[in-house]
Structure formats: C-alpha cells, structure tokens
Symmetry: C2
Subunit: 522 residues, 2 copies
C-alpha cells in the first residue's frame, strides 16, 4: 500500500514496484550512480536485488557487471552485496567495504580513487563516460515531484541530473522531518560558465531544500524501511586521548599567540575514532562557539552541536552510531537549526574551504620523515579505503593536521617511516603531524629540519633509534642534501614487514611496554 504522505506525486505513485522489478531495469554494463556517503542515505533494496540478478545471469552463463559510482562509502547491502557476486567492474570514488576491498586487492574489481570534490565535475565533463541510471534514496517525493534527501547528499544532484533514468527508493525509516536540513546548490556549471560560490560563512544557504527531477526520468519507485549503516563509535582510548590533548594544546597555543581567532576557524574532521576523540576533547575547550565546515558529521561532532559548543555545522552526510542516529531522530527540530547538508562538490570545494580557512584534521596510514603522507595504501600495493576528501581539505586548509597512533598492528608497524610507500599528500600540503608521542609543527621548515622534528616528537621509542640512524646515515651519504635519502633502504621497513611480519629490526625482540610520550613542545 503506497504511503501517499511520502509519495505525494501521482506520477511517482504510479511507478511503485518491487526492488526486483526495479533492478530488472538495470542492464548489464550500465554505469549506475548510487546515493550513499559513509553508510548514510544509500539505497537499501535495489542493490541487493541487482546482486541477485547478477547471480541468476551468471547461472545462465551470461556475464553481468555494472560500474558503481557513489558519494563515498556505502554499506554491506550495497558494496558488499554487489562485490560478493563480482557484480562490479569499476567502482569510484571511495569505499570502505571489506568485501569490496578484498576484491580490489585481489585484482578482481577495478577501483578509481578520486578527490571527492572532483567527482561531480569529472562525470559532468564526461571523463567516465555516460551515466545510465541513478539509484537514489529519498525520504519523500513531494506533490510537485521534488525529492526530499535523507541523511546524505553526496553526488545525488549530479546523478539525478546526469542519468538518463532514475530509480528512487523511498525509505520510511528516514524521518520526514529531515526536510529542511539540505541546501542543494544548482549553480555549478562547466567552464567557461562558472560563477563564484557565494558561501561566506559555514551556515550560508545558497540552494534549495530538494532535488529536482523531471518526472519522466523516474522509471521506478521502490518503498523501503531500513536503517542506515551503524558507524560504530569506539570510545576514545588512552592513545587517542593523548593525540587529542596534543591537538588541543597546539590550538590553545595558536590562539594565545594570535594566529587563530578565539572561536577558532571552521573545523574539518575526517572519519575515524582518532578524529572523533579530538572532537570529544573539544567539549571542554574555551573556544565557544565553534563552527564546522566538514564532510561528515560523526557522533563527536553531533555531541558538540548538542552541547552548543558548535553553533553551525556544514557537511554532506551524517555517519552516526545507533545511539547517535536515535539522538538525531529525537531532536530533528533542534539539529535542523544548526546543521546544513550540502552536495559534496560544495562541502569539499577548494574555493569554499580556502575562503573559510578550515582547520583540517585527518587520519592517515603513514607519514615519512619529510612529511609526505600516505592515506590510502598498505605496503605500497593494497588499497585500504581511498583518499576521500582529505586532499580537498589538506591542500586548502588554514591548518592541515594529520593524526595517527605512532604504531599499528600491536607495535609491529611504525606509522612514521623513512619513505612512505605511496603518497597522497605531499610535503607541500602537510603542516602538522600528531601521534600520541607528540606534535610536530612543520610549517616553514626545510626538509631536514622537518625530519628531525618528526623523529623527536612523533616516532614511537621502539622505532626512534632506527629512524634516527636512517636519517643520520642519509645525511652522511645521500647524493643530495635537500631531502637526504638512501634509495636502497628507503622502502626497507615495508619490505621487512612484508617478509618478516614486522618493521622492527629484530622481529624476535620482545616489544617493551607501550611508551607514551608527553607533549614536548613545537
């Protein structure tokens, strides 16, 4: 029985069908643009039905794959389901699904890792070919045929605009009161017709609350009632508390010497437990009221909004624990006054990020002694998730900070290495590196002074002597002394891990107790 509160358009109501019927409208080889960003607002039913079609086709001896374009990561019922049946031939621009990751690293799924601000324009420019079908979750279809977004905006505007045909999932589990959170900007264009994006403050609204979609483009409406993915919120541990303390002390210092306003500048915080801990650490900081111009609203950020510490937050998606989702649902009228969700081409736009002067805090996999950062690859070859928006923010931020525990895998891997095995953020884009050992402020420093500062402040004591030794010998023998490296050893820590399961020089040596540093100054 069609819910006419959610499907008010008569035209749309006439296209209600099952997920299986809708999935049957997606041909093999299609380029499919799906909604979804960090497990929020993705279609819940059609992708699984499409996966079943793939299995059937294969049983009948036919091949069946599609290209899947999204906002960012989705959930097991989208990426997981389609990857499990080898139903995806090309995936972009970001993923974090374990099944998808395994398929990519096994060479069975092609993945293109793109700055999130680049996706919409590249599709519009035609770099990925034509978009055949959009599959977009909404909270409702208005009488006029407008689409009410749900918990993420991502690339939905672009998918709906660019696709020949649109399949809409109307999710009864998404509150109708989400209407009004969104600011869908229709002013982007291809050059030479681009105009300034007139956002001067975090909360500025320059668009409309709904997605427009010509009714004739909609070929199917599928009713669902399913929650977003839970973003498991791990309470901060001792390591992440220390990282948060270093960041807080640094921000206090920058305010004290007049390099930051007393209410800071708009915060950007990458997804993850460490950045969540930093946000939690701001709960009692003297920076009230702060703002956030970021990609994703996690639990830590939501709590700061709830407590009034953050007065305005702009993002393209929520990514919440079950408790956070319940809090949001219970207080929609409150949050609607303090939160705006934008298309990711705007939430991540270099023009706006640079104008607002964001304070960017992103996690990473590893950094090297010269401040190059690897956000995406394990040991140079395997993808972890993707670069996401970290490049959009790091390059254009007022302050670009990268945060990580100093070790991984129970101390077998050092997060600071002689040379990173893959570069996502170059030495030119990294201002500050923080581990639980301390904080290294690299601004204005030439490479060799960056190296000594990182070794002194950020490296775990188990690895510090070896890294100092590498640097000292490079200073002695490298063919050039701007960025002294010994190329025969630069990647040896990674090779050692691949061969012996540890970056430690003596794999048999028992690891000492965790040595946690204190903030040792800038």
């Amino acid at each position: 029985m069609t819910d006419r509160r959610r499907i008010a358009s008569a035209s749309a109501a006439g296209k209600v069908m099952t997920a299986e019927q809708a999935a049957a409208l997606i041909p093999p080889g299609a380029h499919v643009g799906m909604s979804g960003f960090t497990g929020a607002g993705h279609p819940k039913a059609v992708p699984q039905a499409l996966a079943a079609r793939v299995v059937e086709a294969r049983a009948a001896g036919e091949s069946f794959t599609v290209s899947v374009w999204t906002g960012a990561s989705t959930a097991p019922e989208l990426d997981g389901a389609l990857a499990a049946v080898d139903g995806i031939d090309l995936r972009m621009p970001y993923q974090s699904d374990p099944v998808t990751r395994a398929k990519i690293n096994a060479g069975r799924l092609d993945y293109v890792d793109i700055h999130l601000s680049h996706v919409a324009q590249m599709v519009w420019e035609g770099f990925f070919g034509h978009l055949d079908i959009a599959v977009v979750e909404v909270a409702a279809i208005t009488e006029d045929g407008d689409l009410v977004p749900t918990t993420s905006v991502g690339n939905n505007k672009t998918w709906i605009d660019q696709a020949d045909r649109v399949i809409v999932e109307v999710n009864a589990a998404q509150p109708l009161e989400l209407a009004g959170f969104h600011d869908i900007y229709y002013g982007t264009a291809l050059p030479p017709n681009r105009k300034p994006i007139q956002i001067l403050h975090t909360a500025d609204r320059i668009g409309t609350p709904y997605f427009r979609c010509p009714p004739e483009k909609i070929i199917a409406v599928v009713e669902t009632d399913a929650p977003d993915r839970e973003a498991v919120f791990t309470p901060p541990n001792h390591t992440s508390h220390l990282i948060a303390d270093h960041v807080l002390e640094f921000l206090l210092h920058e305010v004290a010497i007049g390099r930051l306003p007393r209410t800071l500048l708009p915060l950007q915080s990458g997804v993850g437990n460490v950045t969540n801990a930093v946000l939690a650490g701001l709960e009692d900081a003297p920076f009230r009221p702060m703002t956030a111009y970021t990609e994703v609203i996690q639990d830590g950020l939501l709590q700061l909004v709830r407590s009034g510490m953050i007065s305005q937050a702009s993002a393209t998606a929520f990514s919440l624990s079950d408790a956070g989702q319940a809090d949001l649902r219970d207080n929609l009228d409150f949050y609607r006054q303090h939160v705006v969700l934008r298309p990711q081409e705007i939430s991540n736009h270099p023009e706006v990020i640079r104008r607002l002067g964001c304070l960017a805090m992103n996690g990473m996999i590893e950094a090297d002694i010269y401040g190059n950062v690897n956000s995406t690859h394990i040991m140079g070859s395997s993808i972890q998730n993707g670069i996401g928006g970290s490049g959009d923010f790091a390059r254009n931020a007022y302050l670009s900070m990268f945060l990580t525990p100093s070790t991984a895998k129970n101390g077998l891997i050092s997060a600071i290495v002689p040379m990173v095995s893959h570069v996502d953020h170059t030495e030119h884009d990294v201002h500050v590196i923080v581990t639980e050992q301390g904080l290294a402020d690299l601004r204005g420093l030439p490479p060799r002074r960056r190296a000594q500062r990182i070794i002194d402040h950020c490296v775990h004591p188990d690895f510090r002597p070896a890294l100092q030794n590498y640097f000292d010998r490079a200073l002695a023998v490298a063919p050039g002394q701007h960025t002294p490296h010994m190329l025969t050893e630069a990647l040896s820590w990674h090779v050692r891990y691949l061969e012996h399961g540890s970056m430690q020089t003596s794999p048999d040596r028992p690891l000492g107790p965790p040595v946690l540093g204190t903030f040792t100054g800038r």
Copy 2:
C-alpha cells in the same frame, strides 16, 4: 641626479641613496622579501651590495646571513650573488639558480619549497615569522607615493604590506609605459574575513594599477638601470615538436567530441622549452581566439598574443628572451590591451583556476607507471628548482597535462620509472602524460590500466621492455593488486643510475638510434 619623472614623490626623492647605503640598512638575520619572478622584476643592485656586506662581515669574523623570500626564481645578481657568499640561511619559495641549487644540495642552504599560491597567505598567517624588510623593484614612484610595478608582480604587494621597512629600487630600464598592465588586488584577507574573488574571465580587473605603500615605511630609494634576466628561448627541436603535435591532436579530439569549447579554455603553461614549443604549435591551430590564465608569459605565449591567437592573457610575470623583451618594449600600447599581471596569490589561486577551468600544461622530471609525478627532485634527494605553481594548476585545472621528453641525459635516464623517487603530484591529480612517444589519457582509469597505457604510449622503446617486465612481475607477485609494486625493485632504476650512471640494465649496450613514436590514440 634624481629622475623626478620616475621619483615624483618628494618624500621618496629625499631618500635616494646608493645600493651600498641601502644594503647597510639590512641587519644580519633579517627576513627579507624581495621582488622577482622568473628572472623578471627582481632588484638589480641592493642584493649584490648586500652580498658585499656579507663578505666584509665574514672577513671581520662576524656571521651574516638573511632569509630571502621572493616571488619565484630571480637571477645571478640576486640568488647567485647571495648564495655564492653563503649569505642566505633560508630561501623560499622557488629558485632555479645554479649556485643556489648547488648550495642547497650541499646542505649549506635551507630551502622551503611551497605552492606559489600559499606563500602570501602563509607569511600573512605568520608561519615564517615576521618580515623585516622588503626590497622591491618598481618602474616609478608617483607623486602620491604609489609604486608602479615592473615586469613581475609576484608577492610584492604582500612584502610591502607585511614588512616593517621598504627599500625601493627604481629601474630606469623598465619602461614607464608598463603602468596599466597590473591589477593589484587588495581584497584578500585572513579567514574568517575572506570574500569571493570576483574574477569570472581571464581579463577581469578587480584591483588597482599600483602598489600602495605608506611613505614612512620607505627607508631607501635606489636608482638602477639594468635589464631583466634573459630567459633563453631554445627553438623547438624534433622531440618538443612531437610532444606539441600530440597535445594538439588531443585538444582537437576533445573539441571534436564536445568536451572542450572551440576556443578551448584558458591555457596555463609552465616555464620551459617543451611548453614553449606547445604554445608555438598552437599558432596555426583552429582555436581562435584563445585565452591564457597562467603564471608566466614566455616568448611562445607573447607570440600568440601578438598574432591575435590569444586575445587575453593573465599572469604574474613575464619571462622573455632578449628578443621578446624588445618586442614587448616596442609594442607596450598593444600588449597593455591584452595582458594583465596580477599578484601570484591571484594568478595561482585555486578558486580562480578551478572556476575558469584552466588547461594546465607543465613539465616534469619523471612520472611512474601509475601516474604519480615528480617535478622537483633528482634521484630522490637533490632539488632541481621547486614545485612552483604546478600544484596550484594541476589540482584545480579542467585538464591537467604533464609533458616531458621520454628520456634524459642522452638516453641514460628514463622519464617513466616504476616508482617516482619523490612525489609532487599524486595519481589523483594527473590526467594526461605526454612524451614524444605519445600521449596517455589517464582520466577515469584504475591504476593497472593507467600503467599499461603509460607503458604503451609514453615510454621510450629502450626502456619499454624493462618497464613492462617490472609491471608484469608486479602483477604476478605484488601483495596487493590495486597498485601492484615490488618494493624491493621499485626504486632500483634510480639506484642503478646512481651506481652506474645509467638506468639502462646493460650500461655497456650501445644506445640505438632515437626511436620516435607516432600518436597511437588515447
């Protein structure tokens, strides 16, 4: 005898002195902001007088160094003179001087390599400490005390604003008719007070023609009569002709399929002979009238303006051969209608570059099979020049192209390697790679397909089998198949060069005749 046509301000006329007297006003340890960009518009006399002071101080047993901040590269009489006497302790943001480079790579001079769009804001933000003195070349000082810029703008506005004291060189060799070329924008601010930069078209003017400077800040006026550095213009050779042909064919193709307008989009062209050759190759192209929103106007670009092929060109500096300089001088009234010079924070601003949709063409040192580009380092340790504006343009361009001959050092070095020894532009920022062998369009491709395309289209035949062999074995044995690498061999080509003077596997093998490819499609 003071030239009152050029020094019309009575206050300034009263401060005329010799370069030696002016240099005596610069204390040891000072942070000095100097004019100059690609050998144009740098101070001609004070830096040499300062170098003499350094020598005298050292003879007296005193240490004397200064920090030198500029727009970009300067000339032997600035960088060369000061580096030769070890008078610089820190240099930023870009240099190309052989003496300076040697000192940096010998570890005797600290160099910080920065995106050119970041410099002004970082200084304003205080990341480099306080600016003590500005030394700026001008064509004239007006009666009102305004300063008429010369052949580069660079960071002069910021130096004059930020410095406590200003030394002005008034260069009689710079035509007074340069007045009117410049658009000095005073609307930048620190966040949270930044506004949109209202440039919508290449030729839009949003500023004033002069630098403002409070008269009391000026502590010395020095009269000079000396030319800019000659940017030696090497006529295109067979290799650069082939590269230009590939680029032209590619642009024609993009126009033909509707991905570029018939008049293209604003061109950006990095400094160098290869990009100059590409510009020369556009002389007969059917893209009239084109525009350029770029950093530097070289001979190739000037010729396109002269011929009417380019109707409007925006840059922050000229960098011309002696013939080009003469042509500019002889036709100032013509060029003033078609050229605007801006501060480099605007010429290189991500907001404007992305809005206009520049077509970026930059040289490089090497690329790897996955499309990461090294623009700055030789064999991982030694600086060549610096990143300049290539990152500002590559990240934000509509199309980001990197151009290089496929080999260097008479064929001993391959410009395409398994893994670059330093990364300035990541795989996320590189759309197209061009060598004389061909053009690889990497847009929308996952890493392994990028690798095969680069190997097929861009690698010199002398190196192609070895690179294919590396890639094939990585496909077989790499621990992850997203970006298959063998870390034990990834840098082996560079190691081989350092140890044997050649990247070729058999250094004794005679090089075959140069094999030049044809364009083999996209």
